[in-house]
């Protein structure tokens, strides 16, 4: 009998675990996969390993070089502490798999396995930090259509490290800023009676121009080395990716397939069309044209895309490209949506939800997320931060749908928002939600709808959540509640 009971309990436990695990699978990662936990060891060793080399005889130059060097270390360690990176297995393993191929085939260039970071930023980018460290943004993983595109970005960043560009950049800057010529140039500004600002600006621009020109030259070099790394690894090289990168900043210009109102109706959030039309006077909806309505090339995240494409076209290899797994991209997008939510960028988070719906990637998690975002908006409104979390963008950088959404968020009447938030939390889909999702919902409901809140109550709810669901990603939001 006792054995039977034990078996039953074990079975229930296993079923519960399985149920929890399957629910968890729909969430974008876990708390302990965020960098503060998952890169804790690397963070400790970074400070020991990253020792500034003595390169300059001139004391001032060495001092400045050391300051640059240390600020880089501080920046990386702070980013780790701020959970700017993640180590979600599915995503990390996918990227590190590509990195493995590149490293294994290029032993002559890459002696040690690089330290890889998956940056949670939605910006379509990757970057090299020197000292064999590279990072790939979630935004790039969401943007890429083929495995080979990520390989190209990684190879390009590895090439920067191989060529020593990050380190050289710090060296050059230290030398420049301590050079007699530069100091005298700046000091000479004081000798002139008129036009001091223009003269100083010119000197600074001269420096920036030389720096930018240098950077562009570095990009060319890195592109060339990247093709070698890819060839050695037998990975196809598709220069068309450079052309696609030209539109990397346009994600919020992507129009929705249906009206914003229809998406809201599907989510059982009652809205009125009038809220999506600007009710107040203002220059924002006037036809101004100081800029031409397009992002200038120099302001883009990736300038010179067309030139780079044309230059690299002869090196294209005609192998078949491997499409990214749809499930992986959906995970990446979930992660971006969560990250935007937790960083109080609610319009962008909600818009990406709707874009996911257009792509057919809309599961129970997305519905719960829509409810969290709406409640986040109400929470911000109560804390006098609705404007900040909407993060209003100028109309030239967004689609008409995005404009409608941000206008609606801005004009959603407070009482109606409260009612909608409550209704969101009473929807049937919460029955399928995992325990941690329901618990997070309860905490948000307490913050939003309890008239007289006690800090002790919030503390105890926080503690209870952390004890019960220590690995839940929602802890990240809960930790921010003061």
């Amino acid at each position: 009998m006792q054995k039977f009971t034990k078996t039953i309990i074990s079975a229930i436990f296993l079923i519960a675990q399985f149920a929890y695990a399957s629910a968890q699978n729909t969430q974008p990662g876990k708390y302990n996969q965020l960098s503060k936990s998952s890169y804790a060891k690397q963070k400790d060793s970074l400070k020991k390993v990253l020792v500034c080399p003595v390169l300059f005889k001139k004391k001032e130059t060495q001092k400045k070089y050391k300051e640059f060097w240390e600020s880089r270390t501080d920046f990386i360690t702070a980013a780790i502490d701020d959970n700017d990176f993640t180590r979600e297995p599915a995503i990390y393993d996918y990227v590190s798999g590509i990195l493995n191929e590149l490293v294994a085939a290029n032993g002559t260039y890459i002696k040690n396995y690089p330290l890889l970071f998956i940056d949670r930023s939605s910006s379509v980018n990757a970057y090299a930090m020197g000292n064999n460290m590279v990072a790939v943004n979630m935004g790039l993983l969401s943007f890429a259509e083929y495995r080979e595109e990520i390989a190209l970005a990684l190879a390009h960043e590895l090439a920067h490290n191989i060529l020593g560009h990050p380190e050289n950049s710090m060296k050059e800057r230290a030398e420049l800023l301590t050079s007699d010529e530069y100091i005298n140039d700046v000091k000479s500004v004081l000798d002139s009676k008129y036009g001091r600002y223009s003269k100083l600006k010119k000197i600074m621009e001269g420096y920036s121009f030389s720096h930018n020109r240098h950077n562009r030259y570095h990009e060319e070099e890195a592109d060339s080395v990247a093709t070698i790394l890819l060839k050695n690894s037998n990975i196809a090289f598709a220069p068309a990716f450079f052309l696609r990168l030209d539109s990397a900043d346009l994600v919020y210009k992507t129009p929705l397939k249906s009206s914003v109102r229809s998406y809201m109706t599907d989510l059982s959030i009652g809205v009125e069309d009038a809220w999506m039309r600007k009710g107040s006077k203002g220059l924002s909806n006037k036809n101004y044209s100081f800029s031409q309505g397009e992002i200038s090339d120099s302001a883009k995240t990736h300038p010179d895309c067309k030139i780079r494409y044309e230059r690299m076209l002869p090196y294209a290899s005609g192998k078949t490209l491997t499409p990214m797994k749809a499930s992986l991209r959906a995970d990446v997008n979930k992660s971006i949506i969560w990250s935007l939510f937790v960083n109080s960028n609610l319009t962008a988070a909600f818009y990406r939800l709707l874009l996911e719906k257009d792509r057919g990637n809309f599961d129970a998690w997305h519905k719960t997320m829509a409810a969290y975002i709406m409640n986040g908006l109400f929470y911000a409104d109560k804390r006098l931060s609705r404007f900040n979390v909407i993060n209003i963008k100028s109309k030239e950088y967004i689609s008409a749908s995005y404009y409608e959404l941000q206008t609606m968020f801005e004009q959603f009447p407070r009482e109606r928002l409260e009612t909608s938030c409550k209704e969101c939390f009473n929807q049937a889909y919460w029955q399928q939600a995992s325990a941690d999702e329901r618990s997070f919902k309860s905490l948000l409901a307490y913050l939003n709808f309890t008239e007289e809140q006690k800090s002790s109550e919030i503390k105890s709810m926080r503690k209870e959540f952390e004890e019960s669901y220590g690995q839940s990603l929602y802890r990240e939001f809960i930790e921010q509640i003061k």
């Binding site: 600020s71 800057r173 203002g282 931060s385 407070r414």
Partner: protein, 523 residues
């Protein structure tokens, strides 16, 4: 993170560079100054403009950058200009054109090595106004510049002029202000040492007409599409004059003096366009005739300094186009809860109104704080006890009076479009400390802040009022307090200002962590 990473590196560069060359940066930045102003249309904020004086490029010439932002503080664009020393005075917007008004002076704000140099500069001084018309593609479509008369004054630097340096000042008697004329163009007025003038422009910046104005202490201007209404203030105890000019040709209508038939003065609490009717209105309190006190004391207010409230709806040039709605406490149109001396019976206090607003039906709402009085029992008993001494009770009573006064709750009173008067809401506020009878009401100014904001969602105004612990937002259409905002959150102090329609600007200042945050929030 990439951008921020490189930005951080750049910031480090600049910081270090700044440290190394701090003197250069300090001196260059000291030459840079900025004027910021809200861009308005029909009284609503539609954007912001910043004029930055970057540097001196010749003896009398500077480089400027004019930056425009929309109502959400997002950048729209900027233009560069070269000109003599100038300040931005006022900006308005109409039909995709901005009209910016500048005061230009070669002498105002300048410093001179000695008096001789100052005298020379004074003789050659240029003082002018420039009205600039800017399209939304950043092109200056027209400019109207004209000389003004402004006598420079000076002050000598150091202790009793020990440095020998001379600082010059010049300016306008009435600062220039520009307003849009709905659907037509712009009007502009100013007053220099010799005259005051009113100009009318179309949206191309062409001057349509110009009028000399009678000299007054100050002016307020609200244009409708047909008439420019100009409220001219005299000395504090004299009633204001309302001048009206036809938008078409500047023809002037007879002056309307803001007083009733018994010459009781109309004190102005609000003069603005009614957004829903498109007609301007003036509303305020009626002050007892002959009261020449420059301030209204607590006792004065309680004893009938104010005789009632009024509103004037402005609808044209003819005499009958000013529709008066006057309600006296003693007029008999009052609900029983307001006494014939203006005391709100339920709250036991006399209102000291600070703002007023009109709805689409022509009803006017007045908001202010109630003044309460209390018998000084101790003083009265002491006076009675010391009565045989004659001098002592007289001294006691003359010193502090028989009553003491304080401000308590706020109140909203509705004046119906036919003159009825009803108290519609009490705005809970903590009572102040008691003050003596002669204390001027101005001592309560900081605790008695009220202003209105138009809410396009309800097509009516809300009244924002402050207490020691929070700001309250009262909705006229809903007749309830829709929001309260604490003035202190943790270590931060919050202040609330008007912003774009339907919004307030919340400025959070944290002195401990040394930051100031700004947010534009829905009302």
């Amino acid at each position: 993170m990439t951008r921020s990473f490189f930005l951080t590196l750049a910031a480090v560069c600049i910081t270090m560079f700044t440290q190394a060359q701090s003197r250069v940066f300090k001196q260059v930045s000291e030459e840079i100054s900025s004027d910021m102003d809200a861009i308005t249309q029909d009284g609503a904020v539609v954007g912001y403009v910043v004029l930055t004086k970057l540097e001196k490029i010749q003896e009398d010439s500077f480089n400027y950058k004019l930056s425009l932002m929309d109502e959400n503080l997002n950048d729209i664009g900027s233009i560069s200009m070269k000109d003599i020393n100038m300040n931005l005075m006022s900006v308005a917007f109409e039909q995709d054109v901005l009209c910016l008004s500048y005061y230009k002076s070669t002498i105002s704000g300048a410093s001179f090595k000695n008096k001789r140099q100052y005298k020379e500069a004074k003789e050659d001084a240029v003082n002018a106004i420039m009205n600039q018309f800017l399209s939304l593609d950043g092109k200056i479509i027209n400019t109207h510049t004209f000389s003004i008369v402004s006598k420079a004054t000076s002050a000598r630097g150091g202790f009793y002029g020990s440095t020998g340096k001379v600082f010059a000042f010049a300016g306008l008697k009435n600062g220039g202000r520009v307003r849009n004329i709905p659907g037509k163009g712009f009007c502009f007025l100013y007053g220099d040492d010799e005259k005051s003038e009113l100009f009318s422009y179309n949206t191309h910046g062409d001057l349509l007409w110009k009028k000399d104005l009678p000299r007054h202490y100050s002016y307020e201007m609200v244009p409708s599409s047909e008439v420019i209404y100009l409220l001219c203030a005299n000395e504090a105890y004299r009633p204001m004059d309302l001048n009206r000019f036809s938008v078409l040709d500047g023809a002037k209508a007879p002056v309307y003096v803001l007083q009733d038939k018994e010459e009781n003065k109309f004190e102005v609490l609000n003069f603005e366009m009614n957004e829903t009717t498109g007609k301007p209105y003036i509303a305020g309190s009626i002050v007892k005739k002959g009261d020449k006190y420059s301030y209204n004391s607590s006792r004065g207010v309680f004893k009938g300094y104010y005789k009632g409230v009024y509103s004037l709806t402005l609808d044209g040039m003819k005499k009958g186009d000013i529709k008066e709605n006057i309600t006296y406490w003693s007029g008999g149109e009052l609900k029983p809860e307001i006494s014939t001396r203006g005391r709100i019976i339920e709250n036991d206090g006399v209102p000291n109104f600070k703002t007023a607003t009109q709805d689409s039906m022509g009803n006017t709402y007045f908001a202010g704080t109630l003044l309460q009085r209390k018998l000084r029992t101790g003083t009265v008993i002491a006076s009675v006890v010391t009565l045989p001494l004659l001098v002592v009770p007289a001294w006691l009573l003359a010193g502090s009076g028989t009553h003491k006064f304080r401000l308590t709750d706020g109140v909203v009173v509705k004046q119906g479009n036919k003159g009825s008067l009803t108290k519609v809401q009490t705005l809970e506020k903590p009572g102040t400390a008691y003050v003596s009878a002669k204390t001027p009401m101005s001592v309560f100014e900081g605790l008695n802040e009220y202003f209105t904001i138009y809410d396009p969602a309800t097509k009516s105004d809300v009244i924002v009022y402050s207490t020691e612990k929070n700001y309250g937002i009262y909705s006229i259409s809903k007749n309830k307090i829709t929001r309260t905002i604490p003035t202190k959150v943790a270590k931060s102090t919050l202040r609330v200002f008007g912003a774009k329609e339907g919004h307030i600007m919340v400025v959070e200042n944290n002195t401990k962590e040394k930051y100031t945050k700004m947010s534009i929030e829905a009302i």
